[in-house]
Amino acid sequence: MRRRTLAGALALGGLLLPLLGGCIFEPRTPEPPATGTPVTYLPQTSSANVWANLERSLNAGHAPGWEDNISQDVFVYEPDSQAESLFPGAFTGWDRAREVNFINNFYNSGVTIQAQMKDDGFTPPPDSGTQTTWEGVIYDLIITNNADNSVTRYRASAIITFTLEGNFWYISRWRDQQGESNPDSPGQILSSMGVLRGTFASK
């Protein structure tokens, strides 16, 4: 009988704990939008919209826009050879949590980003079923550090897999293939976002 009483008490306590936790689980009150340009994201009803949302997130330095478009279940990042050799072991088990950590560290580092996530010649294939893969999409990021005004550029080709989870599309796999040439200096090969991920993941 005592056991049952104790069990019941624990059950009740356990149920109440999250409710009582309201005080320590209360988000802060936000400031109503007044300044700045609202970041307008597209509904995640197609893979093209999802990829476009990443560009909008980068250009605005708005982390929720990146987090919302990365798979909520399983996200995998595979670096290209150059990034892997610069950061050996850094990409093992790269999942959603590490991707979210990376993008927050990146945006919080005081940078202004000018991104074009799809080269002009790339035509996205139409979605079909619950998974779509884009091969050879070339993205281009120009990053200005606001503190020292230094400019670095990242341009690479990638294979991106989109998956339909619940009702919306998300990026479930990002595989960087190789660094692409600098359009302003074609002989110069630029690095992929793997180098950015390696640099900011550990911060």
Binding site: F25, P33, T35
Partner: protein
Amino acid sequence: MTTALRGPAPAAVLVMLLLAALPAAAQDEAAADSLGAAVDSTLASQDMGIQPPGGYRGQDVPVVTDGPFLVSLRNMPKGGVKATVQQYQYYGQWDLAAVMRDGISADNHAGWSWTDYRKQDKTIERREDQFSWNAGQSLPVTATILGNWDWSEDRTVNSASVSNLAARNYKRGSLNLSKSRLRTGDFVHSLRGIGQIEDQKSINLGQRNDFTEGTGSLGAQTGWEIAPGLVLAGRLYGTATSGTRSLGESDSPSSANGDTIGLGVYYEHGWAGGRVHVSQGNFEKRYLDYRRNFNGLIDTVGVGEGDKVLQEIEMKDAVSLEFENTMRLGRLKLDTSLARDMDDLEYAASGVGRKERQNDAAAAALSFAAGRDSFTVNFGYVYKWDDQRYKNATTNRGKQYTKGRDLAFGWYRELFQATDLTVKLHQGLTQDIAQDQFNDNDKDRLDSDANVKIDRAWSGFRTSLGFNYKQVKDIAIREARSSNNNVKDSYEIAPGYTWDLADWLMLTQSYRLYIQYTDYLYSDLPSVTRRDDYSKRGNLNTRMTIDATERVEITLKHDYNKRFNATKTGTDASGSSSYFKDQIQSTNKIELGLKYKAAPGVILEAATFRTKDIKDTYGTTTRRTTTFSGEIWVGAQVRKKWGRTSPLELSAAVRKYNAYGPSVTPTSADYWDADVWLKWSF
């Protein structure tokens, strides 16, 4: 003890040996586990970047102390090919394992591979050799010699036809000596020393990155059993590296030195056990590096050749504090932990300048079982920050804080015979805060989950019913970012069953209904373009498995999905909302799989699927798109072994794929997936 020596982490070996020498009262298994794990996580050798020696095959066999010097010699050549949609790879390797008298052993692994990428112009050739020698019991100390050679050439041509060669030729040799169970009075000591030489020649993007360096390191650990069940352990570790480095067109001497000191108290007394541990480490490295900006990104554009490479000095101080306790009272168990890590990292040349970081974590896990009920309550708290003073800056950037807290509750109960109830509740809040608003990225994310699941297992019929509710609040704090603030509520109901209709026939069906509402908190403001939305998805999955004969297995699957997305258009006087359906999509996928055991070790396989996808998009005009996609593959698996003392093994899994669909590229439309190898042991 011998088993422990096979482990990859020498720290654990060291501690286990140390414990073995302590009085019997201190050899409590739980205490040993606790102590081993504690020291393993903080041993200085890992901090200093010295690689531990690998395992030694020779120690798997009993030690022979007389007879011929060479006890056994085993060769294992292996060759094979792998193919996937991404790449082809051909490889060969030769493993050699020799066991000698007194436990002396030597192993060598030589390998070669060639990889050709199908979806890009890229090839990689690799050659490698790994050698290890273990003195066994032939010397009064544990001695190992390790050798390592890695050679690779990675050739790529990008979409602008610009080629690159990334080549690397790396060699390493090391001598590892250790001695444990040294006793002086009540103290037991372990000592370890490593000497290592590394040489690398590499080139990438036309820039060389070469180095030749030698490293020496020494470690000592002492344990003292103060009282039964109470052990005090201290350790010291030091390492020094010296050599030369070449980067780009620059050459320079390089060096590194560092030390770590650690102290821990480990206890195990009846109903409680745990540890308190503190360690401090620091290092200084001098090396050539590219010019880097404030974020640590290589920044050499527009810089003269002579200024692209700099002489860097990197210094780091780190302190770690840990407390762990496990308490058991009857069927109640409470695990608690507290931890703090702090470090300062400073660069003399890089624009990064000086970085400070602190991570605090606390966790408590309570579990209790009573009768048919069991409960778990977990709480976790994380508080961390980092700050930076850029090179030549007079003030710090400002602290970037991250705070997180999680509370989870679990209840498991056997409702009645063969029927189980599982309830899970969770709430977690993470917060990003920039000190003095040095950026506008402050945000909170609150996750709340409730999950109820009932499982029932009759003989030959199993059912489950799950209900899940999840709410995610994404709140940006600053006015420049808050326009997208939203709350997502999602509901999911998922009943299902598995029915063994006959010994040869099994039917599984599951249904999943998923509904999500997104409420944009400021959607009523004219400047905010986001509108609340609503979406629903139904999924019916049916699977039938037919074991037609002892050799033939057939699997049939059907997956039906229907979903729609709608945007809120208004709310009437009664508070009811109306939505406009933007898109309706239905997807039908039918699959067929066949497996035939043609002979012992030989299986023939085939599978195919076809998907029909209909999507209606509504707007000023209604648009319907219908797409079809599908795939078929046929293949075989072969597992064969010939001979006993010198076996020859064949393993082959080969599949030929053909696929079609709107997103299927030519390289994915027709390819082989294979893993075939042949191995001989003699």
